[in-house]
């Protein structure tokens, strides 16, 4: 099994099927073309995208519907062509700012599980924000 050095979990073995190809990388990280999709036990629905090119580059993410249950992906024609048709999975990258956490719903990472290709697709509308607040469990109980 291939092995990757990860910022969050040390060295990990992973199956080759967990490699996702990003032909265009991520915005501001265009050189990072391969990521490993990690869903560590006990963390669901949180997932991690770990770059194979740099141990220090790892993104935390949530499925878009875990952030906003009614979220619908909206991809540009170019992104659809890059991904190919299929049952696309949208992931919102998370940023922790102090005690607040936000999700980028403006530009989700969209994965095609059938082809294992992915793209970060910037929505062509203004419906969602790049800093969408993520509700904590405590807040939702108030």
């Amino acid at each position: 099994m291939p092995r990757v050095s990860t910022r969050l979990f040390g060295d990990l073995d992973f199956p080759s099927e967990a490699i996702i190809e990003f032909p265009a990388g991520l915005k501001a990280f265009e050189d990072h073309r391969q990521f490993v999709f990690l869903d560590p036990a006990g963390c669901a629905p949180l997932v991690c995208l770990q770059s194979l090119s740099a141990a220090a580059l790892c993104f935390l993410a949530l499925p878009v519907r875990a952030v906003e249950p009614d979220y619908e992906l909206l991809l540009s024609g170019e992104d659809l062509e890059l991904l190919g048709p299929g049952d696309h999975l949208g992931l919102a990258l998370l940023t922790a700012a102090g005690q607040r956490t936000t999700a980028n719903l403006l530009a989700p990472v969209v994965i095609n599980p059938a082809t294992r290709r992915a793209v970060q697709s910037v929505r062509p509308d203004t419906r969602y924000s790049h800093v969408h607040p993520v509700v904590s469990q405590e807040a939702s109980c108030l």
Binding site: F29, P45, L46, L60, L62, A96, V122, H130, S136, Q137
Partner: protein, 78 residues
């Protein structure tokens, strides 16, 4: 914010090195031509915001944050 009106075919300059020309207009969209030196980046705003947010997200990933999120994030219905 400076507000100016232009018709199709007209242009304006930002500093001495950047020129924006209105190429075409329709009811839903305007087509702009931008002349700028290569070293000035020209980005749609949402792409600019996403680049910045990706950098912030990359910086904020850490075992501590993962642990905090894991205990606070909404989990699937019990």
């Amino acid at each position: 914010m400076l507000v100016i009106r232009r018709r199709a075919g007209e242009s304006f300059l930002i500093g001495e090195d950047v020129e924006i020309e209105i190429l075409e207009m329709s009811t839903s969209q305007v087509k702009l031509g931008i002349r700028a030196p290569r070293e000035i980046s020209v980005l749609r705003k949402e792409v600019f915001l996403t680049r910045e947010q990706n950098r912030a997200a990359a910086r904020s990933s850490s075992p501590d944050v993962l642990e905090r999120l894991r205990s606070n994030i909404l989990t699937p219905a019990r």
